[in-house]
Amino acid sequence: MTPAVALAVPRARWRMSRRTARALKGAFGVALLLVAWQVSVPMVGMSAYFYPAPIDVAHAFVDLIRKGVLPVYIADSLGRYAIGIGIGTALGIVFGIAIGLSRRTALALSPLLKFLFALVEVAWIPIFVVWFGYGVKTIVLALIYVVFFPVLYNTLLSVRTAPAVLVNAVRSLGGGRIDVLRYVILPSALPGMITGLRLAAGFAFRGLVFGEIIAAKTGVGYLIFEGAQSQQTARTIAGMIVMGFLWLGIDQCYLRPFERATVQRWGLTIDAADRL
């Protein structure tokens, strides 16, 4: 065996074991936290309303499933999230391209867009409640608002910064506006769109919790709020944990793989979180 091969074989094994070790370390950290939490409950000596034990939270979680509450709330939350993300992204991309294609329109609208981007969705929710009442419409609108601006802004910037040399090359080869859009603008704007979507997805998830707390009668955000109101703190914590896992699932199963398959593959960003 040459020294190079001798080095390569253990390295491949080490990579496999490192992944497992990382998962084990993560699980160990969570287990340690749960044990510390459980042990601290009798020490603190507070009632389950103030400081529920992990076992109370686990019971609350099982109870919510047994009573059919959690599946319905998760489905409602994910449905609203998917609709908000879908419509917000579609609108953001269409308007971002349309505005970005015209330099004058982009210059004219930029201050307004920056201003609206800065207004958080929480500020809009009371007005949406007045206009559309409590329920799905208000939450979905808030989510569309949250998603629309980051996607629009990133798309707009990407369209405006498309390489002029490529635009000129297509034009010099006899290409029209459609060809420029198809072969230069859209491919060069795609990383910006995905970056905007990645950013918006995080904002939208937080917006979903706020929206459901203020304007819904179902959903995991509402569960968190209702649990606290009805003095079922264990339910509130179970809702928070479910929210956390939902976001992890969305991030790990959808956002990161799409980002890896597109933006990172083209070498345009380096995700520091991947190195953790």
């Binding site: 047994r66 009573k67 059919g68 509450v69 599946p71 699932g249 199963c253 959808y254 793989p257 890896r260």
Partner: protein, 102 residues
């Protein structure tokens, strides 16, 4: 489409399909003794596996008129067949039986 999102979507779709099919089969069993259902809306006693919470009451109110609750049984009127099937599909509904308001 990248592999991980495809697998995740597949698992989600399977879960939803399982939930739906299990609900339909379970609902069918619960209503077997009541068929054929009254077209113009009937009165039914819905027994849950536990005392109903606000969530269950709201859900049942959307599907008929809730006129009373006794422990884990909810008494309803004006429930059309479609709504009754939707109620029976829920896994936390133990029994559905006819009930005559006095």
């Amino acid at each position: 489409m990248p592999r991980v999102p495809a697998i995740a979507t597949g698992i989600l779709a399977m879960l939803v399909a399982f939930y739906w099919i299990a609900g339909m089969v379970g609902g069918g069993h619960k209503l077997a003794a009541l068929e054929p259902l009254a077209n113009d809306g009937g009165s039914y006693a819905i027994t849950l596996a536990f005392a109903p919470e606000r969530f269950h009451q709201q859900l049942l109110q959307d599907r008929g008129r809730v006129v009373g609750v006794d422990h884990s049984t909810v008494f309803m009127m004006d429930v059309d067949p479609k709504s009754l099937r939707a109620i029976a599909r829920e896994y936390w509904v133990v029994e559905v039986r006819r009930w005559s308001p006095r």
